[in-house]
Symmetry: C2
Subunit: 424 residues, 2 copies
């Protein structure tokens, strides 16, 4: 190992140790103290707007020099409105009920013990993300709300912005009397830091959360020695059932695809019930085309919508994140379920129908984190679910599925009260 | 790869495929059908007693020939009473509320969507265990109750017994109209089967549950490509606080250590508050010694209990699973928490005290799956918790902690009902 790598590893291990100690101290803080820290943080972000924007301007300038695409620069760039958005998100998280200490269940079995299942923080979370600097504030706020310490590792593109935001976070945390190392940002762009985190920092990391593109998440899932809560991709489907109302089908499909094409909850494949394709598809397709969406269909869809290009097998497996939609005609709910089972990523699927039975069979048969009935797949979002914010959408089946807010960043323990009982 | 290994891998991949298909079919079964299958299974186990015992006799004879210890043979050996115990456990699990489809939460955020968080099966579970043949029936029953398909891999010692039990399970499942491949047992003792499971069977395994000794669990956690729910060990502590009632301290400690020394919930280290050591320790130690327990103490403990041998650093880190107890005098709740933080395994800890404040600080400060107040650590058990049975005690922090019953073998999805909502 080179000296540089050894020094990096030492720094990361030390960061892990400090995070563990901070997690222990956080355990003794009150919900009110954590709420107070979040309010201070929101105010401090507003007060530090100029510093944050000037750090961000340096990141953006470097990104332009490096020839990054405008789409990436748009993810990276902050504006006064975006800084205000960060502060407002922190306030929304502050307004969430504090999950720690909440009783999930309580009962007394035959042995007379009083058993309570109580929410507790997980401990130390490592969040690995890419070029959106607002994640620094969002992740910090969600970790504070849930009583966890966090090690944040941002992409090198947004390092200066994230440092400026992390400095604001840490002073707000310290001023509120919480342990300053509750939130730590890896201060250097070295890639070895990610390797160190994946190796678990000597057992100091309880959970790794990758938030970013497919290759980042895949690397984390393949290499991590600690548990991972990640989303792989959002290959979301909207299914128009024979029982669909035409108006609902038109506006839900248009929104599900085109509201924002780059989010993981955007619909990538439209499935249409053969029994109603003639009634539904032409109007739905016309709306999409008028909005600038390219349609790629199977033979039956193309027969109904002239000018649609031909879909290949690859279209069913592609998360476009672009104004492109694949379209397939299927045999009712069962046909839709077959397609989703084969090609879906377990993220979010929607059915449009007025037929309660069809809706029920679809909701039961789809094994995805989120199933929507008569609503847009773009609602797959922690804010829309009422969580105040989210650290991502989990497509893991274990621990938490769907939007991951503060509550999903907790675990539980059993507190069992007896009166001297011994086990027979 | 040798031909043998290739054939084994093919068999295992095929098993994974059939498990996945069975999991899909199970999704469409009703709670009543699953309850019916469990009742049939309990009856069928009783009816097959002779077959099961004769298969078990062959396992036991082979184990004796191989020179296995009497302790291991005791784990392996079945008797009519133990077969009845298996049947009774299946009935207790049948009597549990079926978790699948249960609504965990339901709310309507500002967007007007009706959001329900609904319990669903995880999918395909792989259970890897060692020489206790009753696990074959327990694991099958818990997986059926929770709507999961299971691939069971028993230790080679109990293969004939497990095959006999698995045959009973599969006919009961088929007779109840459930997919027969819902429960599959790896029919050969080949170790390559474990490797294939750890590699994830081409994505067919959603969760791996190792149930057995430390080395098995450690291997699974190190190598598994699918999520793992395991317990590493139970290094459980009982802490006698200054506020302890002497009688409760005596009977809880004796039970916590000596009821059964080989279970993971057995206490391995006794911590005694300095402020009350003189009052509590001599009597507690006398009870333990009289029951045949060896005591290994620090200097302060030895000063109070002549004849106690000297504890070394290794004693604080050893899960004895034997009639040996390490004893340390500590400075109150904080001293106990420090010791547990440093040496505990996150399984189960108990405090004996009548002081509510001390109990509260202990319960809050201990980051273990189970914290007991005035009760024996040996209550760490799914049956005692009212779960009907358990597949083990999880010391993982993610997904499920403590006893893992049918409910802990489920995940959830969101079923979201709208009226044509689109996202602004």
């Amino acid at each position: 190992m080179s000296d540089l790598n050894a020094a990096m590893l030492d720094m990361m291990i030390d960061m892990g140790r400090r995070a563990r100690a901070a997690a222990e101290s956080l355990r003794a803080t009150t919900p009110d103290a954590r709420t107070e820290a979040l309010h201070r943080l929101a105010e401090a972000l507003r007060a530090a707007e100029a510093d944050i924007l000037s750090a961000n301007a340096r990141d953006v300038a470097r990104a332009r020099d490096a020839g990054l695409s405008e789409a990436l620069i748009d993810r990276l760039a902050l504006t006064p409105a975006r800084v205000e958005g960060m502060a407002a998100a922190v306030e929304a998280i502050a307004a969430q009920p504090d999950p720690v200490g909440g009783e999930i269940a309580r009962w007394t079995p035959a042995n007379g013990l009083d058993i309570a299942r109580v929410r507790t923080p997980i401990g130390v979370l490592a969040v690995i993300y890419e070029s959106r600097p607002n994640v620094t504030a969002d992740a910090a706020a969600l970790c504070l709300r849930s009583g966890n310490a966090a090690i944040l590792r941002c992409g090198s593109d947004c390092l200066e912005s994230s440092r400026a935001i992390a400095a604001v976070v840490r002073s707000a945390v310290a001023e509120a009397g919480l342990p300053v190392d509750a939130i730590q940002l890896v201060p250097v762009p070295d890639r070895a830091a990610v390797g160190a985190i994946l190796a678990g920092l000597d057992g100091a990391v309880d959970l790794i959360i990758p938030r970013g593109g497919k290759s980042l998440v895949a690397r984390v899932q393949a290499e991590a020695k600690a548990p991972v809560l990640g989303h792989l991709e959002g290959l979301c489907h909207t299914y128009l059932d024979a029982g669909a109302d035409l108006d609902v089908a038109r506006r839900v499909t248009l929104n599900a695809k085109m509201r924002r094409v780059s989010v993981c909850g955007a619909t990538e494949t439209l499935l249409v019930d053969r029994a109603a394709a003639e009634r539904l598809l032409p109007a739905v397709a016309a709306d999409l085309t008028a909005a600038g969406c390219e349609l790629r269909g199977d033979a039956e869809a193309r027969a109904l919508v002239p000018g649609m290009t031909e879909a290949t097998e690859a279209d069913w497996t592609t998360e476009y994140l672009a104004p492109i939609l694949s379209v397939r005609v299927v045999g009712g709910v069962d046909g839709a379920l077959d397609h989703i089972r084969r090609y879906g990523s377990g993220h979010t699927e929607a059915i449009v129908t007025t037929d309660e039975k069809a809706a029920g069979r679809f909701a039961e048969g789809v094994d995805s984190a989120i199933v929507l009935i008569n609503a847009s797949t773009q609602f797959a979002d922690g804010g829309e679910f009422g969580f105040g914010g989210e650290i991502g959408i989990s497509t893991s089946k274990l621990h938490a599925r769907g939007p991951v807010g503060a509550e999903q960043l907790t675990t539980y323990k059993y507190v069992v009260r007896g009166e001297g009982q011994t086990r027979p």
